[in-house]
Each structure stands twice: as structure tokens, then as C-alpha cells.
């Protein structure tokens, strides 16, 4: 199978991946996650069997890196065995109050909202990236919006 030059993926999806990570882990940590995401993608790339949906593939890696990152940050900040559902302390960012609230939502809702509104992902892609059904993807977005509206008035 012929894969496109890796640079083409980066050109096409780098911006969306970065925005998704800013929304998921905050601006301060997004750059580290971005590098880890693309290095992992670069490592796995030549062995890739299916080049049909490279964007979802990279977003899936980014999603995993974001989760890893939040887990390790939580471990450092609060040395407990259980990983809390929320992202922990909201990092200081210049991206306003709204995404601060998003980052306090339960992880699945937060991720679904980031994919939907930051990476402009359709529900099929949200379900592919998060490994859920499409109904669950819709529900995560819906529940996230509902909860967010209680705490934030645009």
C-alpha cells in the first residue's frame, strides 16, 4: 500500500490536532502532547494498513496522549490510586473561561465537545476516535452541553 508523505498529514491535520489538544489539556501542555502525538504517529506510520481515514487515526492517538497526560498530571498533583474523572486543576490559559469549564467536565464529555467543536468532527468520527457507538458520541456531546450550560452563560 502506498502511504502519502507524512508531511501531508501534518499539513492537513496538524492545526486541528493542536486545537483539540489545547481544548483537552490546556494551552500550557498542548505542545508536549502535540509532539508526542506526532512522534507516535510517525513511528507507527510505515506499518499502517489502512490509509482510508488518517485524520481519525491521528486524532485517536492525540486523544490517547491527552488521557495519558491528564492521568500523569493528576498523579503528580494528587497521589491517590483512583484517577478522578475530571481533568484536575484548570491550567491558566488565555483562551477564556469557557474552555476552562469544559475541562472540568467528565472526561468523555470533555473529549466529545473538543472533537465536535474544535476539530469539527462528525459523530461518526467522534465515535471512531473514542471507541464508542455513535449514539454514545451524541449523548456525550449532549450531556456535555447540558452540564456546561448550567455553569456558563455565553
Amino acid at each position: 500500500m502506498t502511504l502519502p508523505p507524512f508531511q501531508h498529514l501534518l499539513d492537513a491535520h496538524g492545526r486541528d490536532v493542536h486545537r483539540f489538544l489545547v481544548a483537552s489539556v490546556g494551552r500550557h501542555d498542548a505542545d508536549d502532547c502535540f509532539q508526542e502525538t506526532w512522534l507516535a504517529a510517525l513511528r507507527a506510520y510505515p506499518g499502517l494498513r489502512d490509509a482510508a481515514n488518517l485524520r481519525s487515526w491521528v486524532l485517536t492517538i492525540a486523544h490517547r496522549k491527552a488521557i495519558d497526560h491528564l492521568r500523569s498530571r493528576t498523579r503528580v498533583a494528587v497521589p491517590v490510586a483512583d484517577v478522578p474523572e475530571t481533568a484536575g486543576p484548570v491550567p491558566a490559559t488565555a483562551d477564556g473561561e469557557l474552555w476552562g469549564h469544559v475541562r472540568e467536565l467528565p472526561r468523555k464529555q470533555r473529549t466529545a465537545l473538543a472533537l465536535r467543536y474544535v476539530a469539527d468532527a462528525p459523530y461518526t468520527e467522534i465515535s471512531a476516535v473514542m471507541g464508542t457507538s455513535e449514539d454514545a458520541a451524541r449523548r456525550n456531546v449532549h450531556e456535555g452541553l447540558k452540564r456546561l450550560r448550567l455553569e456558563y452563560q455565553p
Partner: protein, 221 residues
């Protein structure tokens, strides 16, 4: 129905419209954040198989590509389509781990600048010959030995490559030269004195020969 924001799917939850719009506005403000560079991290992880850069030269836009071993490709790329096809070829024949990493091409690029300015007669940057093989490689190796400012013939390089009657095959090998200018196939002419052919077009062949005969000093532009 209220006006739905532009999305890949019409949002079903119009009750959240204001919130949805606000969520979409923030990323727009982040469109200008610089994306972190991958070159250094990819290099130290040993994952940058092909680094490339494009730049303008007196003989047109060039693409340079290098592996960790050396320069593997130089191509004339007059438009994006040509650039894409050169990169696709590298992805298929060398590795799809290809990144734009201009700093990795600083040395050959500098040597080319000097060459075009008439200040360099041979190239010293290491080469990676992996896109050549067999008779074609021997023809190109013979071609690489033709000194600056002189010329050879298809017959002569074919003989040196071990096939005195292979001048047509030598012509094909030179036409497929992955490193034009650096491996100076423009110095190979017809025995009758005609220019012969050139991948980048005969105008370029004339220009390169003119530079080397001192008839022409060229600057970018």
C-alpha cells in the same frame, strides 16, 4: 428554524446554539498559535527518514531531499503537482516518514548557491545513491566524474559503465538521474555535438553549461 452555524453536520440541538457558537469561536482565536516543530524530536528518535526543502534558484524552483546518509534527490519542481509527485515517489521508494525540514538541507543548498554564483566547481555534500541501481548507477557514477566545465558523450559514459553499445540505455539512465546538477548529466552531449536531452528541459541544460563556461553568472530571480 434558527440559523445553524457552519458545521459538517447540522447540529440537532438548537437549544444550545449560543453555547455551540461560543465553543466554536475559541478555536478560531487559536488559529495563529504556532505549531510545535517536530524536526529535532523526530531526528533524535531516529524517525526522520527523509527531510526535504524547496527553494528558488537561477534554474527554477528546486526540491532537495536527504536521508541520514546523504542527499538522495534533487528535482525541478515548477508547480505543486510536480512537488507532490516527487514526494509521493520518495514515500514509495525510500520511506513515507518524510518531513519538511529545511535546516537539514542547509549544506547542499549552500553549495548550490555557490555553484550558481560561479564560486564552486564541485559538490562535497555526501550523497545517498539508493535511488539508482545496476547499469544506471554505473552510468551516473561515470557522469559524476566528468569535471566542471568539460563534457562527455552518451557513448563514452556507456563505455565507462561497461557497455560500449549502450548509449541509448545510458541516455535513459541520465534521464532518470535522481540528482541532476549535483551528478552533472548536463555535461553529457551527443557525439555529433548536439545537446542531447535533459530532464529539466534543454533550456536548463544550456544555462548550466553556460554557467560552467563562465558565459553566464546567475542570480536568483
Amino acid at each position: 428554524m434558527s440559523q445553524a452555524p457552519a458545521m459538517s453536520e447540522a447540529p440537532a440541538m438548537s437549544e444550545f446554539e449560543a453555547l455551540e457558537r461560543a465553543l466554536m469561536e475559541v478555536p478560531a482565536a487559536e488559529a495563529d498559535l504556532p505549531l510545535p516543530e517536530l524536526e529535532a524530536a523526530a531526528t533524535s528518535a531516529g524517525l526522520l527518514d527523509v527531510a526535504y526543502a524547496t527553494f528558488d534558484s537561477p534554474v527554477g524552483r528546486l526540491l532537495l531531499a536527504t536521508t541520514p546518509e546523504g542527499l538522495v534527490r534533487l528535482a525541478y519542481v515548477d508547480d505543486e503537482e510536480q512537488e507532490d509527485s516527487v514526494l509521493a515517489q520518495l514515500a514509495a521508494k525510500v520511506s513515507p516518514r518524510i518531513l519538511a525540514a529545511p535546516r537539514k538541507l542547509d549544506r547542499p543548498r549552500h553549495e548550490l548557491d555557490e555553484y550558481f554564483a560561479g564560486a564552486r566547481r564541485r559538490f562535497d555534500a555526501p550523497l545517498d545513491w539508493r535511488l539508482t541501481r545496476g547499469f544506471g548507477r554505473r552510468v551516473l557514477e561515470a557522469t559524476a566524474r566528468i569535471p566542471f566545465g568539460s563534457s562527455s558523450t552518451y557513448l563514452q559514459v556507456a563505455s565507462e559503465a561497461g557497455s560500449p553499445r549502450g548509449s541509448r540505455a545510458a541516455g535513459n539512465a541520465l534521464g532518470a538521474n535522481p540528482l541532476p546538477i549535483i551528478v552533472p548529466c548536463h555535461r553529457v552531449l551527443h557525439s555529433t555535438g548536439g545537446l542531447g536531452g535533459y530532464t529539466g528541459g534543454l533550456e536548463r541544460k544550456r544555462l548550466l553549461l553556460a554557467i560552467e563556461s563562465g558565459q553566464e553568472t546567475l542570480s536568483v530571480g
